[in-house]
Symmetry: C2
Subunit: 709 residues, 2 copies
């Protein structure tokens, strides 16, 4: 790793004029000024306005706001350039290269100091507020952060409604000016939701200007603060930060020295650059653990989709209400649909072992599922006590004998206190029974009541759970938690989150067909998503006659998602019997890696299509994935990323000509080609379709008889 560091301390006489900062490649230019006492910044990309002059500051509770009356007391410029290696990721190395401007501000009357730190990368901007320890400012409570992002036009946006408790919405594509009119429709029902405004949207927010600039707003390193939403002033096309409140309406409790999370603006003329940006990771702290050898990417199957579709149940019995430690399950009749039973789980273990999966997730194994949901039940699970038909020891030993691990499931029902009370025992139980990864869930309203999923209280908890898991060598896949902001760099045992509308909604009525062409530009800017792809049987009524949902995809696209929806934790979510019907297509899921050394964007337009190429971290093999929206489109790609002069076997899994997500989702073709760095391919993608390609180093003889592309 190389690392350079230079520092220039500006002198006071210069402070009266505007401060300027350029990105290392000089494409971005940031300007900082004090306008009538207000800290103000603007950002240009090659002379195009990305952020028009926008003010910075915070409103405080029971104290003078930190909004105006500021003067610059010092500035500091520096350059940083370092290349680091993530424990796992989309690339083997990441370059962290930025120019930094630190502006120290003093509020004249109150004599309080507030510092703003700007880091300008070649792909965009990060900045945050810092509050040094000082006599006049030890503790303060944030009423609202007032960070403006003034847009230069009525951009096209891919947005979901601002909400303190859920991100599980379909994306709406519209102009900024249309958000207000579309908000009602955008807010679909969810088991815990608190939308707050007619123009409030969530980050990461993806936009595109009329002159073709792609702009993404998000945040990095969200700890000890509440998650940021964006409130749009749709007359001026200006966003202002809107933090998630606590139970009494406050936004954050701060003690100096402290800082806010980073606010990020990623921008490029190329959509693919947004996907490749490492700003979010680079603004996070380096890994916090000395030993990371226990952290490993995971490919898994699970007893899950059969419950999501309604074919089976999490609950052991059909009872309206149970009490842990009081309800005697040995005297309760099973409902006959309980999936997490020993025999059934063994079949999943057998399948995992046969096909090389690392783990088997089992949901509904522990007592309490009869009334787990929507009851504001404090003591809802103990995370230790299995149902009578789930034999922990037997399954532990059986899985061990098959070389497979079980994945633990900790649904909390949002009852955070209860989870924390049982957390040590629950993680120890995992260690004792050979579990090293947990899927946690926060379905329903948060307890303590009045707190929200995205408030400072819950944000503190999620990280507590991850750090505590680290003490036990446990990896975490947290669902319904706050959307990620790159913390995986620091805590790489946080493998993935949900924090968006995942595949489960395909069984709850369906996701928009373009959903997976948007998620990488929005939700995944912050980090990996456990999207649970791999659904081969898209007609849900085949699993549950009462469920008319249709997964809006072709099988070929389901394969592509293992490449396009980056995660070090990937599920093959469908049932073993469905995979057994398509073992040829299933082969791609078996082969696709979950850790990469290189990542390229071959084609991308948010809402339309994305084509990724990624290189396996542990071999010379490449994998390509293409997800397509509801339009029929042709993808044209080059294989120039391959090592020159070398032949590979490319296996293309693509939609058949007459395939269609709605009418003919299972029609796919698998064709093998001989390819090298000069090869090109054109593939027709059907509505809701896509394709996947494995590109393997050719063994002797394998190339024989294959058509060269």
């Amino acid at each position: 790793m190389k690392r350079t560091f230079t520092l220039i301390l500006s002198l006071l006489p210069f402070l009266m004029i505007a401060q300027e900062l350029k990105s290392p490649n000089e494409n971005f230019k940031l300007k900082f000024t004090i306008e009538e006492g207000k800290p103000t910044y603007q950002l240009n990309l090659k002379n195009k306005e990305i952020i028009k002059p926008s003010t910075l500051g915070l409103e405080l509770v029971d104290a003078e706001d930190l909004l105006g009356d500021f003067e610059i007391i010092s500035t500091k410029n520096s350059t940083f350039d370092e290349t680091w290696k993530p424990v796992w990721g989309e690339t083997a190395t990441i370059r962290n290269h930025y120019n930094e401007l630190v502006v120290s501000l003093k509020q004249r009357q109150t004599e309080r100091i507030m510092t703003i730190r700007f880091r300008l990368f070649n792909d965009g901007l990060g900045f945050r507020y810092e509050f040094p320890q000082q006599e006049k400012l030890s503790y303060f409570t944030v009423k609202e952060e007032k960070t403006q992002f003034a847009m230069a036009g009525d951009h096209k946006a891919w947005w979901i409604a601002g909400d303190y408790d859920t991100q599980e919405y379909d994306y709406t594509t519209s102009k900024l000016s249309e958000i207000r009119g579309l908000m009602d429709k955008a807010i679909t029902s969810n088991v815990s939701q608190t939308p707050f405004s007619e123009t409030g949207v969530q980050t990461a927010l993806m936009m595109k200007s009329e002159d073709g600039i792609y702009i993404n707003l998000h945040e990095a390193a969200l700890t000890e603060y509440s998650a940021m939403h964006l409130e749009l002033d749709d007359e001026n096309m200006t966003f202002t930060s809107h933090l998630t409140p606590d139970a009494i309406g406050n936004k954050a409790y701060m003690q100096t020295p402290t800082q806010t999370p980073w606010r990020t603006v990623i921008a490029s003329e190329k959509a693919g650059d947004i996907l490749l940006s490492n700003i979010t990771l680079n603004l996070n702290e380096p890994v916090a653990y000395e030993d990371v050898s226990w952290i490993k990417p995971v490919k898994y199957i699970g007893v899950w989709w059969e419950m999501i579709t309604g074919k089976s149940s999490w609950a052991y019995a059909d009872l309206p209400s149970v009490k842990l430690g009081e309800t005697d399950y040995t005297k309760v009749e099973s409902n006959g649909r309980h999936a997490a039973n020993t025999d059934h789980v063994k079949k999943y273990i057998d399948f995992a072992a046969e096909h090389g999966f690392d783990q088997v997730l089992v949901e509904g194994w522990n007592e309490g599922w009869e009334d787990w949901f929507d009851k504001s039940k404090d003591y809802v699970f103990d995370f230790l006590t299995p149902y009578p038909d789930f034999d922990v020891e037997e399954l532990r030993d059986y899985a061990k004998s098959k070389g497979v691990k079980l994945m633990m499931h900790h649904e909390t029902s949002g009852s955070i206190r209860n989870y924390e009370r049982h957390m040590d025992a629950a993680y120890q139980f995992m260690v004792d029974n050979n579990y090293n990864a947990v899927k946690s869930g926060y379905v329903g309203d948060i307890i303590p009541r009045g707190e929200h999923h995205y408030g400072q209280w819950a944000v503190n908890h999620y990280l507590y759970a991850v750090k505590k898991a680290g003490e036990y060598g446990v990896m975490v896949n947290a669902h319904e938690a706050v959307r990620p902001t790159g913390l995986r760099r620091t805590y790489p045992n946080l493998l993935a989150n949900e924090s968006a509308r995942g595949t489960e909604y395909e069984a709850f009525g369906g996701n928009n067909v373009d959903h997976t062409t948007i998620l990488p530009f929005t939700r995944q800017i912050g980090g990996p998503m456990d999207y649970t792809p791999g659904i081969f049987e898209t007609d849900i009524s085949k699993l549950n006659p009462n469920n008319g949902s249709r997964v809006r995809t072709t099988i070929a696209r389901q394969l592509a998602l293992y490449v396009t929806m980056y995660s070090p934790l990937q599920m093959a979510a469908d049932l073993p019997e469905h995979y057994n019907q398509h073992l040829d297509a299933f082969q791609f899921i078996k082969e696709v890696p979950v850790d990469w050394s290189e990542t390229l964007i071959l084609e991308a337009e948010p809402g339309d299509f994305i084509t990724y190429a990624r290189k396996d971290k542990n071999s010379e093999n490449w994998f390509v994935g293409r997800t397509n929206d509801e339009e029929k489109r042709t993808s044209n790609i080059k294989f120039d990323f391959l090592e020159k002069g070398k032949d590979y076997v490319a296996t293309v899994y693509k939609d058949a000509k007459d395939a269609h997500w709605e009418t003919n989702p299972k029609a796919y073709e698998i064709i093998k080609y001989k390819v090298n760095s000069k090869s090109k391919l054109s593939v027709d993608c059907v509505p809701g379709g896509g394709y996947a390609i494995s590109i393997m180093e050719a063994e002797k003889g394998e190339l024989k008889g294959l058509e060269r592309l």
Copy 2:
């Protein structure tokens, strides 16, 4: 123990008429009726109205209220008589003797069942709501409990303001009709307080009717519910229950089968009977622990009063703000006033050993006191890390060598989540370092913010802390927690609570002179109070020139409090050097037990005086204590409680003739007498005065030369 149980199931034809229940001695009569669909009860004592017809029921959130449209579907009468032995207490045995009426009610439209269970004792009434498991009522949220207590007149009352967060108020004595006018004055400032109404008061509420009936309203067995206040309709002299809300205004979350705490009405023509009532204990469940051998009453001294008075500090350094794990105390300069340092604590240990105290409380031993208070600081203490000048191991060994234990101190600053996160480690730390009792504190507003000290959330926590302590063999003395409701019967490791204005306020300006003549009728109805008596130096400026407070007592009364303020955990709160100046008076504190086999009330009038006689649980010795209000009064007592025909040595510690709490508090006399069961004594008590008597079995020769009373 004897135990009888009879059961009579009433038949439906009788249900249309009023249900009646009499106390075993037939002095109390309860009548239950349905009036226009509303459950209604009334209570008489020997034909005097204690509770006029009063309605019962609850308002619910998002559901039909449980207030009207009820019919009786069954009633059940039974009798219970059992004598049980508390682990520690005011008496060696307790008789639990009542007649019970259980009325099952059905709400016609909703078909929901609500049961009301009445238990009528010879000293009063207990009743509660019960909600059986039923199809139509599994979960519900209480908006407000609407239990009426209609008084028969404009009684005299000893009251403090209803408040969700503190009971640390001086009592006001007034007619009910005067409460509204006096409320403003009654609400003195407190570090966490939330008064809610102009006529809201707290329980236990003590009253006296114009015809001389003493009435006390409180509750028993408060678990999984929020604490009850009483809201007075001062036109009709009717109280209605007012529960403590949570952060979003709800009062309680319930899952059937469940019940509310018991509501209690203790009444008698004799004030002393109120003090002797065991209704609160009898309405609690029997002891929950199999082994109680580790639970032992405690007499202790502590490094505490010197901080309370401002002579010393809890904090090691004078810093405006610290961060645990970040602030390096080894590099911080001590403020020179830090009391919890090894050498200083050793002196306390020496004193404790010399005078036979069990334990030494040390507050301020752990990092974090510099900004512990009023900062809404989440991670405020870790309960593990000592200041650099407090050597845990050295003090552990030193205390052990002296046969003394240290008492742990866990101040939480109301940050409940933080305490629970560290609780297991903190208790384990105690076990490892020879601590078996903890004083816990909840100073300041509760975190999670919006929750209150007396709400269901916090109530759940306090019991969690006690039960968890039980797992480690730890006894608890919880300050600022909810006031007790007899849970010590079930969890006898909850030795004591504060939950009222204790001696500390004598150093914050003073308590009313009559305070200790009221507390046994109010706060202590629920259980023991760690009042921390034994202040010999009443002029606080002697400890801290900047503190002009005056402890409003004579020394003689301070001795009496060890008898009148019952607790199995008693502190000698003053500094060793002050006791060394009055070792003759201190002798009483050394001798007075903290566990009793018998308790008698010799004289009592709330707000004026109380004279207790108690017999040591472990000997034949008796101890008498008298606390006096601001009036000069003469106490006349008989010694007829002594074993007949036996002579004892009575040592009387009384105010000198010219003593006065304000002008001459240290003037006391100590006189020994020969007494037997025929003896009588008349003692003049000065304003703020009182007396204490130890009555010991006479050793050979001891009686020689003593005057016979």
